[in-house]
């Protein structure tokens, strides 16, 4: 039996693991799709304090994991398939394997949202991609379209511009939502072009992405432009489906949280799932820390009884 099982190994899960393990809690991290979570897919991270030169997402992920391991956190490289939070011990299944813990930290984060348009699934990995870290280098001297207008989209456009000959950022609103720091940087990059109030209706190509069909939302005019790649950065869906029935959530799967707490005693939430406003690496680490501290306090009260 574990003191705490942490579901997810992004910045929040790994920070929670480091805090919990350092406090001598028997800690297991069920990694999920990959160590680092979203930051494993980010080429460059320039806003994590203490790293003035910046570093890559995978490198920061590895550092977080090493830090948790140093204090004895255990890791399971698999995805939780089912849970039962009816009573303590709380149960987590990974396939056939049953794991039990006195407390749980949910840090399963979010997954890339898709556009849901023709060509998107068929050409995924064939020019449609979500991971600039993985594939930006392969677009050297090629044209890429980035869909989205938030921090991630603009950061990805900047990363891609290091390699691509031309990057077109397509955003459905009439202005970017990204922070000023990124917007200014993107605006000063001559390779990046901006198309506002525009959506992608179709991704066209036989074996590879060749074109996208665009529609201007103000004029309804459609156009087709040539491109070698389409990077999707339009937002995220919460990874919460396995908690249905055990944790309160809205129709989209967003959990009901009170800080890092849930209505379930001993079950805490960290990272993007409890943060609708900031969603930064450093704020995720913060909530991971808070969730671990709450779990520790709660476990102590259980001991007294």
């Amino acid at each position: 039996m574990y003191d705490v099982i942490i579901l997810g190994a992004g910045p929040s899960g790994l920070t929670a693991a480091m805090y919990a393990a350092r406090s001598k809690l028997r800690t297991l991290v069920v990694i999920g799709p990959m160590v680092g979570g979203q930051i494993a897919l980010t080429y460059q991270i320039d806003n994590y304090p203490g790293f003035p030169d910046g570093l890559t997402g995978p490198e920061l992920s590895d550092r977080f994991k090493m830090h948790a391991e140093r204090f004895g956190a255990e890791f399971l490289d698999a995805e939780a398939t089912q849970v039962d939070f009816t009573s303590i011990p709380y149960k987590v299944w990974v396939g056939e394997k049953l794991l039990e813990a006195k407390s749980i930290i949910v840090a399963t984060g979010m997954t890339h949202r898709k556009l849901g348009i023709t060509g998107e699934d068929r050409l995924f990995g064939r020019g449609v991609f979500v991971c600039a870290t993985c594939d930006a280098v392969l677009y050297e001297d090629k044209k890429v379209v980035v869909v989205g207008g938030g921090d991630s989209a603009v950061q990805e456009a900047i990363d891609l511009a290091k390699f691509a000959s031309e990057v077109t950022l397509i955003h459905r609103r009439d202005e970017l939502r990204s922070c000023r720091c990124l917007t200014d940087k993107a605006m000063s990059e001559p390779k990046i072009k901006f198309l506002y109030s525009t959506v992608v209706d179709e991704i066209i190509g036989e074996k590879r992405v060749q074109q996208v069909r665009l529609r201007n939302l103000k004029t309804e005019a459609t156009s087709v432009i040539d491109t070698d790649g389409v990077l999707l950065a339009i937002g995220w869906n919460p990874n919460t489906s396995i908690f249905k029935g055990y944790l309160d959530m809205d129709e989209s799967g967003n959990l009901e949280t009170f800080g890092v707490k849930t209505r379930k005693p001993g079950v805490y939430v960290a990272g993007d799932l409890m943060d609708m406003d900031y969603r930064q690496v450093v704020t995720s680490c913060g909530s991971g820390c808070a969730a671990a501290l709450e779990a520790m306090h709660w476990l102590e009260t259980q001991l007294v009884r």
């Binding site: 995978p58 990995g125 064939r126 991971c131 870290t133 594939d135 280098v137 392969l138 677009y139």
Partner: protein, 113 residues
């Protein structure tokens, strides 16, 4: 034991000249999906046995390596391309289970003779 590393200078000798089909995995170290599929890739040579050879090509090794991969039509990592005497017969892109990866490769190399 996973596939051996391939340098682009060895392409003719190790991909074009051999009679046996060659599978080239295009990958790099900071690609999380490549990391994720590593255990599957390690199983592959044994499963393929004598039927085909697996070689691994690091697209980030140098600028030349990157250009070479782009010229070979690689636009995502990992990409597994199947060659018969240097001619590309098919590819598998992204994360796959060993069963799917092996099944697709076997289907492609059937036409190699």
């Amino acid at each position: 034991m996973s596939g051996e590393n391939l340098q682009f200078g060895d392409w003719d000798n190790r991909v074009v000249k051999p009679e046996k089909p060659v599978i080239v995995e295009f990958w790099h170290e900071s690609c999380p999906t490549c990391k994720k599929i590593e255990s599957t890739v390690q199983e592959l040579p044994q499963k393929l046995g004598d039927r085909a050879t697996l070689l691994r090509f690091n697209v980030m090794e140098s600028r030349e390596a990157r250009r070479f991969a782009i010229d070979k039509g690689v636009i995502g990592t990992p990409t597994f391309k199947v060659y018969c005497k240097g001619i590309e017969k098919g590819e598998i892109v992204g994360l796959e289970t060993i069963t799917n990866l092996l099944g697709t490769i076997e289907n492609i190399i059937k036409d190699c003779a």
